[in-house]
Each structure stands twice: as structure tokens, then as C-alpha cells.
């Protein structure tokens, strides 16, 4: 589970990762339909990256990562729809408050969960699962936020400045803007993982007692990873709501929380790029074969996931990457 192998599998060279992202830039050639679909896949990929940081790198098995995705999404919807005041309706402000709100919530929740002899492992999984359940139920019956119907008519991203408005609703430009954001986040995460802080994260994950013994503040290191992950999930959620023009309780709860867990586990939780690609891959397969397979799709996904956890605990894509020819194993 740990040791040098963790490091070896984690090291997808940055240029290779960027090449993969550059390859995605060809998607708009496939037409508007797929461009729009891939815009959403990209954001699910971004969301998966956030969990990869929290779970794969910091060892916090969070069964409720969609809390932050949904929170970011709802904040974005409320602000850009002018529900908090017409004069506040700005995409920039929406994104900023969504990211900050998700981070703040994660900070408070994380402190509650990790302080003292903090929760970890299965306890943490079950408690975060229950919290996601609570949040979904609350939003479901919160009438000011549309309750179970959600909030429809969320305006698209408006990248205007100096009084000019530039609404981002055409598929190709929107896709490239989102791809740019994803690329920036990917590079930042890659640098973070490779930085001294990333090494400390691995230390805290592998052996918290020893890390504490060396003088590291385990609580604050865990909290930092949790908060950064939540901020990224909030960003993904905010962008998703602006792309989908719809915020619904399914974004915040239990269902999406476990879906992202499946993507990240399937891809390989320790490898940010693998988690990203798995999210896109699962969504793509669902988009292509979902209609063909109908109800059998979910059955197959459940079984494949089960088999993958047993046979490839490090993830399908990460295992494949580690076995690429010319790489040390």
C-alpha cells in the first residue's frame, strides 16, 4: 500500500499529463453535442481530482465529497441568479464565494472531524456518508432553494469586464475556457504533490504517529488538504451549475458522492491524472453505451467496480500507467 511503489505510480510526468489535456482540445471537432458533453465530463474530472487529493494523497476517505461540489454549485446559482441581491449577480463573485464557501465549510467540518483523537478510516467514511445524507435531505426540503425541484435558469458564465458582458454559452469557447481552468488546476496539483508539502502529506497518510513524532502538526496538515480539496470541488460544482444552467439536490448528496468515489477508485486514487481520466472515461462510456445497455449499465458498473477493487486495489488506470514499458516498477 505504501512505500516506494506509491511514489513510482504517482509520478506521471507533468508533460505527459499536459499532453493528455492537449489531446482533449480536439474534442470540439466532434461537434457541438460532444463538446457540451465533454464540458461536463471535464468538470466531473476536476471534481475527481479534488477527491484524489483528499483521499489518495492525504488518506482521508471522504464518502461525502459531493457536499462541497453541491455547496459550490448552490452558492454559484444563488449569486448569479441575483437571489442574494441583483447588484451582486456576477460570475466572478459567484465563483469566488463558491470556492471560499466550500473551503470554509470544509475547514469547520474538518476541524470537528480531525481535532484531538480524530476520526479516521471506516468511522470517517460512515460519518461523512451520514453528513452528506443530512445535507441532501436538508436541501430537498429547503423551499427557498427550490427544494427537490432545484434551481433552474442559472445564467452561464459571464466573463465580461469593465461593464462589457461576454456570456459563455457557445459550446466550443466554453469548452476551451473550462479546459484551461482544468489544466491550471492540474498543474497546480501536480506541483503541490511534488512539493515538500506533498511529501509531508504522504508521511501523514502513511504513518500519522511518526509524522507527529517528527513535529508535524497532523491536524493542520490534514485540514489543509481537506480544505484545498473542498475548494476545488466547490469550483467544479460552481462551474458545473453555470454550464448545466441548473442546480439540483442530486449535486450535493449521497449519490454523486459515491459516484466520484467510484471514478477515483477505478482510476487510481493516488494518481491525480488517473482519477481525472477515470471520471471522464466512466461518463463517456455511460454517454455512449448508457442508452444501449439501459438498466444493465449500472449493474455492469457496480460489478466492474467491485472486481476492480478486489483485483486492482491501486486502480485500473494507475496500475496500467505503472506498467507502461520503459517505466520502473
Amino acid at each position: 500500500m505504501s512505500g516506494p511503489r506509491t511514489q513510482a505510480a504517482a509520478a506521471v510526468p507533468l508533460p505527459a499529463g499536459l499532453a493528455v489535456l492537449a489531446g482533449l482540445a480536439l474534442v470540439p471537432l466532434a461537434g457541438d453535442y460532444w463538446t457540451d458533453q465533454f464540458a461536463r465530463y471535464l468538470l466531473f474530472g476536476l471534481f475527481a481530482m479534488s477527491l484524489s487529493l483528499v483521499w489518495g494523497r492525504a488518506g482521508i476517505l471522504c464518502f461525502g465529497q459531493a457536499m462541497f461540489f453541491g455547496l459550490g454549485g448552490y452558492i454559484m446559482a444563488v449569486i448569479t441568479m441575483g437571489m442574494a441581491g441583483e447588484w451582486l449577480a456576477s460570475s466572478y463573485l459567484g465563483l469566488a464565494v463558491a470556492v471560499a464557501g466550500a473551503a470554509l465549510f470544509a475547514g469547520l467540518l474538518g476541524y470537528f472531524l480531525f481535532w484531538g483523537r480524530g476520526l479516521s478510516g471506516p468511522y470517517l467514511a460512515i460519518v461523512t456518508l451520514a453528513i452528506a445524507f443530512i445535507l441532501e435531505q436538508s436541501i430537498n426540503s429547503w423551499y427557498a432553494l427550490g427544494a427537490a425541484n432545484g434551481l433552474s435558469g442559472v445564467p452561464p458564465l459571464d466573463l465580461g469586464a469593465f461593464g462589457l458582458s461576454y456570456e459563455l454559452w457557445e459550446p466550443a469557447p466554453r469548452f476551451y475556457v473550462l479546459l484551461g481552468i482544468v489544466a491550471v488546476v492540474y498543474v497546480a496539483l501536480d506541483r503541490l504533490v511534488a512539493s515538500p508539502f506533498g511529501v509531508v502529506l504522504t508521511a501523514v497518510k502513511t504513518n500519522p504517529e511518526r509524522a507527529a513524532h517528527f513535529g508535524y502538526q497532523v491536524l493542520w496538515i490534514r485540514l489543509a488538504a481537506f480544505v484545498v480539496g473542498a475548494a476545488l470541488a466547490g469550483l467544479a460544482g460552481a462551474l458545473f451549475v453555470a454550464t448545466d444552467e441548473f442546480a439540483s439536490p442530486t449535486l450535493i448528496g449521497f449519490g454523486l458522492s459515491t459516484e466520484v468515489l467510484i471514478w477515483v477508485a477505478l482510476g487510481g486514487k493516488e494518481v491525480v491524472l488517473a482519477a481525472f481520466l477515470a471520471a471522464i472515461g466512466v461518463r463517456l462510456v455511460e454517454g455512449v453505451f448508457g442508452e444501449l445497455l439501459g438498466d444493465y449499465w449500472i449493474l455492469a458498473l457496480g460489478l466492474v467496480f467491485m472486481a476492480s477493487v478486489v483485483l486492482f486495489p491501486r486502480g485500473l488506470i494507475a496500475t496500467a500507467l505503472a506498467r507502461l514499458p520503459g517505466r520502473r516498477r
Binding site: I126, I131, N140, V309, V310
Partner: protein, 284 residues
């Protein structure tokens, strides 16, 4: 007064069912370090067994008898095909059994459709004492549940099998060294746990709507009960189930069911956070 008695009895029946579901979970967790996220779906399969048996025209009780057998067999297959490969990889068991739970849920949707079924209670009679009227089936359910819980405790506390099982829970390696076939203990315990969940699902079927999502509604409270009571001693389940189930049904007197559930979950999380070893567990 009569209202209060009905509320207390409803609350008690919920608590007893919760304990039945949690018992299977805690045995499997304590013994093999397996967190079975598909336990709620096994409970669901028990209820659907009753639906399937009733479809053939057989009486309700035939379904109740069939449920633990069918679900126990499913448990045996799950143990053989999945769980034995991931003993002691606790976090992986959460994920793998989660995949299993998705697959089971979807299999039920494929066979029975996504809509909910209702099962009519076999006993339509009610118990009447003065102005207090209570459905007889619920009383019967409680009696059966109490008997089952007592039986489970008897098996684990008073039989040779139970002694061996507790030995495996406490010190798996030493137990194996003393000649206990731990593989067989694991298989048996897992099967017993799933059979009890199936039976619980079958018994509850007339009281709730039987649908593919019903498992989750019991899984989370059951887990919270275990953690609140303490995962170590078996008796922790009784306390945890009583606290979680009891608070939930008592709060519904004043609050809507949704708010009551939210409040109970929040309270349980608080208890778990402040006493991770559970109410009954000893401080490490």
C-alpha cells in the same frame, strides 16, 4: 395515553428491527474487519423474497421462511466470490461491497421494476384494550424480533460455536493456532449475518413500502447504532440501536420525519465524535 402507548410501541418495533440489521453488520465487522455496505441490500432482498413468494400464490409465512434461506445462500455466494478475497482490507471492503450494493439494487430493478410494492400483513386483527387499539402483526413482529435477538446472543455467548467465534474476533491468529478453522468461522458468521438481515427484511415488508432504495434507509442508522453503542461488545448494538432508533421515533412526535432523521444523525455523529469507542466501549 393510548396515543403515547402506540408511539412507544412503534418506536420499540423500529428499534428491534434496527438491532436485527445491525447485529449482522457488527458480527461481520468485529470478526473479519469487513464493513458490508451491501447489508441494506440483503435486508431488501429479504423483503423482495416475500414479494416473489406471494406472487406464486404461496402465503406470506412461506415467504418469511424462504427469506433467510434465500438471502443466506446469497450471502454464502458473496462470501465465496467477494468477501474472502478482502478480509482485513477494511477500507477496500467498503468500496467493494458498495459496488455490490449498486449491482444488487440494479438487479432488483431489472427483475421487479423500480416501483415499490406493498405486502399485506397476514394478520389483520388488532389488539384492543379499552380505547387502545394496536395492530396485532406489529406485536408479533416485536416478539419474533426479540426471540431472534435473544437467539443470536445465545448462539454467540452460550454455544461452542459462539465461543470459537468470539475467540476468532478477539485473537484471530491465536484462535487459528489453537486449531479453530477461521475460514469456516468467517463463512458461517457471514452467512448467519446475511440470513438474519434477510429475515428482518421479510418481517418488516408488510410495514413499509418495498422498493429498491429501502436498504439505505436502514443501513446508515444501523451503522450509526453500531458506532454509538461501540463496535467491540455485542451488547453495544442493543444500546446503540435503542438510542438511535428510539430518539428517531420519539422525535417524530414533535418533528417531521425528515427533520427528526436529520436531528438523530447529527446527534449520533456528535456522540461518535466525542466517544469514538462507543457508549459501552472502554477507553483505550
Amino acid at each position: 395515553m393510548a396515543d403515547l402507548a402506540a408511539i412507544l410501541l412503534n418506536s420499540l418495533s423500529y428499534v428491534l428491527v434496527l438491532i436485527l440489521v445491525a447485529l449482522g453488520l457488527v458480527i461481520v465487522f468485529g470478526m473479519m474487519g469487513v464493513i458490508n455496505m451491501a447489508h441494506g441490500e440483503l435486508f431488501m432482498l429479504g423483503a423482495y423474497t416475500v414479494v416473489a413468494v406471494e406472487r406464486t400464490g404461496a402465503p406470506f409465512w412461506a415467504g418469511v421462511l424462504a427469506a433467510p434461506v434465500v438471502v443466506g445462500l446469497v450471502g454464502l455466494v458473496i462470501e465465496w466470490a467477494l468477501v474472502r478475497h478482502i478480509y482485513r482490507r477494511t477500507l477496500d471492503t467498503i468500496l467493494a461491497t458498495w459496488g455490490l450494493s449498486i449491482a444488487l439494487k440494479q438487479a432488483v430493478v431489472l427483475v421487479f421494476g423500480p416501483a415499490s410494492y406493498s405486502v399485506t400483513a397476514p394478520l389483520q386483527a388488532s389488539l384492543t384494550i379499552g380505547d387502545f387499539v394496536y395492530p396485532a402483526y406489529r406485536l408479533l413482529l416485536m416478539a419474533v424480533a426479540v426471540a431472534l435477538i435473544a437467539l443470536t446472543f445465545l448462539v454467540f455467548l452460550r454455544t461452542d460455536f459462539g465461543l470459537q467465534a468470539r475467540a476468532v474476533i478477539a485473537r484471530p491468529d491465536t484462535a487459528a493456532g489453537l486449531g479453530i478453522d477461521t475460514r469456516r468461522m468467517y463463512r458461517l458468521s457471514f452467512t448467519i449475518g446475511t440470513a438474519v438481515a434477510g429475515l428482518a427484511g421479510a418481517l418488516v415488508a408488510p410495514l413499509i413500502s418495498v422498493d429498491p432504495q429501502m436498504g439505505l434507509g436502514y443501513l446508515i442508522p444501523a451503522f450509526l447504532s453500531i458506532l454509538v453503542g461501540g463496535a467491540g461488545p455485542l451488547a453495544g448494538v442493543l444500546v446503540g440501536g435503542g438510542v438511535v432508533g428510539g430518539t428517531d421515533s420519539l422525535l417524530t412526535i414533535w418533528l417531521s420525519p425528515v427533520v427528526a432523521q436529520i436531528a438523530v444523525f447529527a446527534l449520533a455523529i456528535l456522540v461518535i465524535r466525542l466517544r469514538p469507542e462507543g457508549v459501552l466501549g472502554s477507553r483505550r
